[in-house]
């Protein structure tokens, strides 16, 4: 998946407007980044990437870019 597609999927998880999320944004500053949204993120990653990221790694992520790093090679430029 391309990074831009990931960001669009992440916006859907957050119920945010399209093209409003960037990699540098802090997760703590995002409206609605709570445990329910983290579960929706886990579901999105499971569905689109077939991956099960350990929740502590998601909780410890500081920025949107940190989440991209967790997905490793599954995300390209």
């Amino acid at each position: 998946m391309k990074k831009v597609e990931f960001l669009a999927a992440f916006e859907e998880v957050l119920e945010a407007d399209p093209d409003t999320i960037t990699e540098s944004q802090k997760l703590a500053d995002l409206d609605g980044w709570d445990s329910l949204t983290i579960m929706a993120f886990i579901a999105m990653v499971d569905e689109k990437f077939g991956m099960n990221i350990p929740p502590p790694e998601i909780v410890n992520a500081k920025t949107v870019g940190d989440l991209v790093v967790l997905l490793g090679d599954s995300i390209s430029g």
């Binding site: 609605g32 709570d34 445990s35 329910l36 983290i38 579960m39 929706a40 886990i42 579901a43 499971d46 569905e47 099960n52 990221i53 350990p54 929740p55 998601i58 909780v59």
Partner: protein
């Protein structure tokens, strides 16, 4: 594993009369988006036990309703199994208290099983094994919890979720019954993610353990309250539940309904999507009851499938998963069953009966 010569005869449920409506009667979080919570959990109201109303009161009411509906002589019950994580006492076993209250015969075996979300399937497995091997002819399986007594009303991760209920299921020997297929599992490494840490013997009750203090996300709870790590539980569910269900059926053509532990709507809908369970076969029955722990599968059967199960035989897939971690699923053919209306139990009824 397959178990044969056992059939279900009936199922009954009882809930406390007292109702809490999400966001109206129990909104301690003015900043929380209650609409988002309702959309995710699918829960609008819960039946909540009043002080002094115990799991045994609810299971007793369900049992009496079931015995009346089936017309079964209680003297023919050989074994009583009580599945719960909210017993009446540290000891004796609540099953012994219920045995006396129900007036069962002295030669009836009675024991408790400490399991939650997976508990009903484990109870069916135990009961069916006892009957199939000839140890019992008729088993009364009680499953229920009053989880509201363990949840902090100031912890938003659990306070909107749990409701209280008690259920009774009657199983008996039937030489012609189709076999049931079970799959069970355990991973205790997840014990810390759904736990009431204090009040047992590892971390005994003290003045300190009952104090509610601020935790992650501005939630308040004590060490005697339930802690739930939602993302961890969901992650575990995705790892284990699809594999468990697939081991019992490749597709759902021959299955009439899938009843999973009613954890919350988000989890159930995602599992249904992931497993490709047809929407009309995936049962959601938590809008008016919440997550009722060990009671959630039988309660869902009596709420959402009562009309069909009273008149037809259905192929069901039941799956429980959660606290432990512990999980179990069964594929079984059952019905027509005796299913009386859900009993609404007032506190006065509980007190008078005890």
């Amino acid at each position: 594993m397959n178990i044969s010569r056992v059939s279900l005869k009936g199922i009954a449920s009882a809930v406390p009369e007292q109702i809490q409506t999400v966001g109206e009667d129990d909104n301690k979080f003015p900043d929380s988006n209650v609409i988002k919570i309702i959309e995710n959990t699918g829960i609008r109201k819960r039946h909540i036990a009043q002080t002094g109303q115990c799991t045994s009161d609810l299971c007793f009411a369900a049992s009496e309703s079931l015995l009346a509906a089936t017309g079964i002589d209680r003297a023919t019950i050989d074994t009583l199994i009580f599945v719960s994580q909210t017993p009446d006492y540290v000891l004796p076993a609540t099953s012994c208290c219920l045995h006396s209250r129900m007036g069962l015969k002295k030669s009836c075996a009675a024991f408790d099983v400490n399991l939650g979300c997976s508990g009903y399937v484990y109870g069916l497995w135990l009961a069916s094994n006892l009957i199939s091997c000839g140890s019992s002819y008729r088993v009364l399986l009680l499953a229920g919890d009053v989880m509201s007594s363990l949840t902090s009303s100031r912890d938003r991760s659990v306070s909107f979720l749990f409701g209280d209920a008690g259920t009774a299921t009657l199983l008996e020997r039937d030489e012609n019954a189709p076999s049931m297929s079970f799959v069970l599992g355990t991973d205790g490494s997840g014990q810390q993610n759904l736990i009431v840490p204090a009040g047992g013997f590892r971390y005994p009750h003290s003045d300190k353990t009952g104090l509610q203090v601020e935790r992650e996300g501005g939630n308040y709870r004590s060490d005697e309250d339930l802690y739930m790590n939602g993302p961890e539980i969901f992650s575990f569910t995705l790892k284990e539940v699809p594999t468990m269900v697939k081991s019992l059926c490749d597709n759902f053509d021959g299955v009439d309904a899938v009843v999973m532990h009613q954890a919350n709507k988000f989890i159930l809908e995602y599992l249904a999507k992931r497993l490709k369970i047809p929407e009309e076969k995936s049962i959601l029955a938590l809008e008016n009851y919440g997550n009722t722990s060990s009671a959630s599968i039988p309660l869902a059967l009596t709420v959402a499938l009562a009309q069909r199960l009273k008149t037809q035989s259905l192929q069901l897939l039941l799956a429980g998963f959660g606290v432990g971690y512990s999980w179990g699923a069964v594929r079984l053919h059952c019905g027509p069953l005796s299913i009386p209306d859900v009993v609404l139990l007032s506190k006065i009824d509980s007190a008078n009966d005890s």
